[in-house]
Structures are given as C-alpha cells and as structure tokens.
C-alpha cells in the first residue's frame, strides 16, 4: 500500500511542478537542464523506493507508474478539457512574418529561439520568411515557411 501511495504522490507532484515551471524548462535541453534532470530523477528515486530495495517493491512502483500513465491517457482521450489541463495547448508565436511579442514574453521565449528553430528545421534566415511559428505543447517551436 505504501509503495502505491508514494508513487501516486510523487507522480502527482512532478506533474504539477513540471507544468508550473513551464513547458520550456525541460524541452530544449541545455547541458545544465540535463544535469537538473539527473538530479531530479535521483531525488525521486529515493522517495519512491524508500529503504525497501526488494524486487516486489520495484515491480509495484513500475506497475503503479504505468497504470497512472495509461489511466491519464485514457482520461485525456475521453475528456478533451483534461488534456488541455495536463498538457496545455499549442500557440502561434509568428503569424505571416510578424512576431506576436506579448505572447513570446509570457511564454518566456524570444525571437532568437524562433530563429534557431527556423534555421534548424527549415533553413530559414529571417522572421519574414516564416508564415507560422507554433510553440508546441512539448516546448519545441515548429516553423512553417512562406511559399516562395
């Protein structure tokens, strides 16, 4: 019982905290983000396992994690509002070559992030070559170029 409750608590806390910290936090991983991820997983592992290193405990925790995950995906499929709440929504940040500044500011990204993605994925060099740039729910920026 203890293992299941621990797992649910940790899963719920991580879900809320990572949602709060914003989608960019762990999406575009810098070296430091990678280290942060390692530290978070280390701290999480301790809380999940406690001092019980038995196989049973590990199996119970893995089963619980996957059960929550599957359960959430089922709920997300049935109730669109819950998907919005858990994953958020994509948002347009560039429209027909014009940057939507206010939106960028609130999402804590800047023009250079968009340009980086434009170079990387489309080989574009300036904002006015972009028809749409979308900040996806994963935190990545997808770019649709203007017709040439």
């Amino acid at each position: 019982m203890d293992a299941v409750l621990r797992t649910v608590a940790v899963y719920g806390f991580l879900l809320v905290v990572l949602r709060i910290s914003g989608r960019r936090t762990l999406a575009q991983m810098t070296t430091f983000d990678f280290v942060l991820l390692l530290i978070i997983s280390e701290a999480t592992q301790q809380a999940l396992l406690g001092d019980d290193f038995s196989i049973t405990n590990a199996l119970v925790i893995i089963a619980t994690l996957l059960a929550i995950d599957v359960g959430l995906s089922l709920i997300k499929g049935r109730v669109p509002a819950s998907s919005k709440l858990i994953d958020g929504l994509p948002m347009i940040v560039v429209e027909n070559g014009a940057v939507l500044e206010e939106r960028l500011r609130h999402a804590r990204i800047d023009e250079s992030d968009i340009l980086e993605s434009a170079r990387e994925t489309q080989g574009l060099e300036s904002i006015d070559q972009i028809k749409f740039a979308v900040l996806e729910i994963t935190g990545s920026i997808t770019v649709i170029p203007k017709d040439r």
Binding site: I20, G88, E95, V134
Partner: protein, 173 residues
C-alpha cells in the same frame, strides 16, 4: 502610445494552422505565476525548518519538577533520523531511570543511545532506561531515533516516578 494592430490582435484565437484557446492559455500563465510563488514559499519554509531541521522545528521542554530538559524536533520525517537530547539533573548519585511512554516507542525506533543505559526494561505504559550517574554531575543522553509512523505523536518522557515532560511532534510522510 496608441495600441498597434498587433496589440489588439495578440490575444485573438486563431484557428489556422492550429486551434487556439488564448483565454485558457492566459489562465495557465496566471496559474504558473502562482505556482512559482508557492515553490518559493516551500523553499523558504524548508529553510525555516517547517519540514524539520530548522529554527521553526527546534523545541525544548522541561519536566514539571525541573529534573529533565528535552531538546527535540517539532517536525520529523518518516524514515529519517530524529535527534533527542535529554539533560537530567540527578538528585543523588546512583541511578537515573528515564521513562519513555509507549506512543514515542511506537512512532520511533531507537537506533542508538549515548551513553548506553545499564539496562532497559518494559514497564506499564512504556520503556525504562537505567543510567548509572556519578555524584552530583548532570547526565546528558543523546538519542538517535528513526521515525516509522506518520502524524502527530504526543508522548511523555520522565525521570522515575516524577511527573514527566510532555512533547508533541509531527512526523511528515
């Protein structure tokens, strides 16, 4: 400065190439901001010791007769070590009997006691530890316990038949 076309336009919901809900998005941002404040508060309270080990957690209590002073942590965590310091003023040389009530024994496992008691035995309502003491000298006992339950623990620790000191602790999961 008059609003430009884009300012008016910023929060309009687009439908192409994706379906937007900017009202929801702005709500999310507000929730994020509140969440950050909560995170900082958690860090601050942790520094202050609300989650054990800190000024808010440190407490001490004295028995009614004044023969025992206990320094303990108001907040402890399940599975984590908890320190307890008992300062005893013995009336005479010989032996001091420290009695620990059952609720404390149920909530904590005693991992080590320094100095070691000469004997320990179960008594009605708890455990009694017997320490030899030199003439007149105060006795300080350090106990390292490990919490093994969750919630409020109200226990009593006393010297022999004297009225014990009451201590109340909260153990986090």
């Amino acid at each position: 400065m008059p609003p430009t076309r884009q300012d008016n336009d910023t929060w309009r919901n687009r439908t192409h190439p994706i379906e937007e809900d900017m009202q929801f998005q702005r709500g999310t941002w507000r929730a994020e901001r509140i969440g950050w404040v909560v995170l900082w508060l958690i860090v601050l309270l942790a520094l202050l010791g609300l989650f054990s080990e800190g000024p808010l957690s440190m407490a001490s209590v004295e028995s009614p007769a004044g023969d025992l002073r206990i320094t303990y942590g108001r907040f402890e965590r399940n599975g984590a070590p908890a320190e307890l310091k008992l300062a005893v003023e013995p009336r005479r040389a010989g032996e001091v009997a420290i009695r620990i009530s059952a609720p404390v024994m149920e909530a904590f496992t005693i991992e080590s006691v320094t100095p070691k008691p000469r004997t320990e035995r179960g008594i009605a309502g708890g455990v009694e530890l017997l320490f030899p003491v030199a003439a007149g000298g105060p006795l300080t006992v350090h106990m390292t316990m490990r919490a093994r339950s969750v919630g409020v623990v109200t226990g009593e620790i006393g010297i022999g038949e004297n009225r014990p000191a009451r201590l109340s602790q909260f153990i986090y999961p």
